[in-house]
């Protein structure tokens, strides 16, 4: 299960809505206790995809490395990655799957007409052939 606190969630939604109609991306940082991942900090990162960003995103590994360093320095952990699907549901697409890694939770935010609509979290496998849905809890406003 992945739980996102209010401050982190607001940052994720704000980033997703601000980047609409493009895809946004970022890192989720927090702590893990047993099966529960608590996200307490969301770090928006630049979408580095060089083509049209309405349907694609790419994280620079060095940006992720920097986010991991910040998390370690704060005694926290890099837990997952978030990105948005503009005017599209929050599913884990073929492109998402083929460019994923099995180590992190992947939260997808659906943004429709510029406003957040719904979200889901996924756990891809190492072969990049399937992604299991993960229970996601976010503060409902």
């Amino acid at each position: 299960m992945i739980k996102i606190n209010e401050a982190a969630w607001k940052a994720m939604v704000a980033h997703a809505e601000a980047k609409f109609p493009n895809e946004c991306c970022g890192a989720m940082i927090g702590s893990i206790a047993g099966d529960v991942k608590d996200v307490t900090l969301a770090q928006p990162l630049e979408n580095a995809y060089t083509g049209a960003q309405g349907a694609r995103y790419e994280l620079r590994p060095e940006d992720l490395l920097e986010a991991d360093k910040k998390a370690r320095a704060a005694g926290l952990d890099l837990i997952g990655i978030f990105h948005s699907h503009p005017d599209c549901d929050a599913y884990f697409s073929k492109t998402d799957l083929e460019n994923s890694c099995p180590w992190y939770s992947f939260v997808v935010l659906s943004v429709k007409g510029g406003k957040f609509d719904h979200a889901n979290s996924f756990l891809p496998n190492a072969e990049q052939t399937a992604a299991e849905k993960e229970e996601l809890i976010w503060p409902k406003s």
């Binding site: 995809y49 490395l65 370690r72 998402d96 460019n99 994923s100 992190y104």
Partner: protein
């Protein structure tokens, strides 16, 4: 000895260590030391053919080893190796 930083989700395969000091003169040797010490990490980092998984990047200090000498990149005492995934996607 070089320090290898273990990403959070991989610590379960590394006796919960967040970093580990390992011997090796090159990146390949340090990674071999890593997977020898923690065999369960091998499957996470390498495929069945023994090649590094496509989403795995290794940084020597702040530099991507792909732009150095790849896994033949020399490693000196005090260097830090980081394991960072490639991530992208889209609708």
């Amino acid at each position: 000895m070089a320090k290898v930083l273990i990403p959070t989700p991989l610590r379960q395969f590394a006796d919960k260590h967040d970093s580990v000091d390992l011997a090796g003169a090159t990146v390949a040797e340090v990674l071999a030391s890593l997977t020898q010490k923690f065999p369960d990490l091998r499957k996470q980092l390498f495929n069945d053919e023994g090649k590094m998984r496509s989403f795995v990047n290794v940084y020597l200090n702040d530099d991507d080893i792909r732009y150095l000498k790849k896994d033949a990149t020399p490693v000196a005492a005090g260097d830090t190796l980081s394991i960072v995934p490639s991530i992208a996607g889209g609708v």
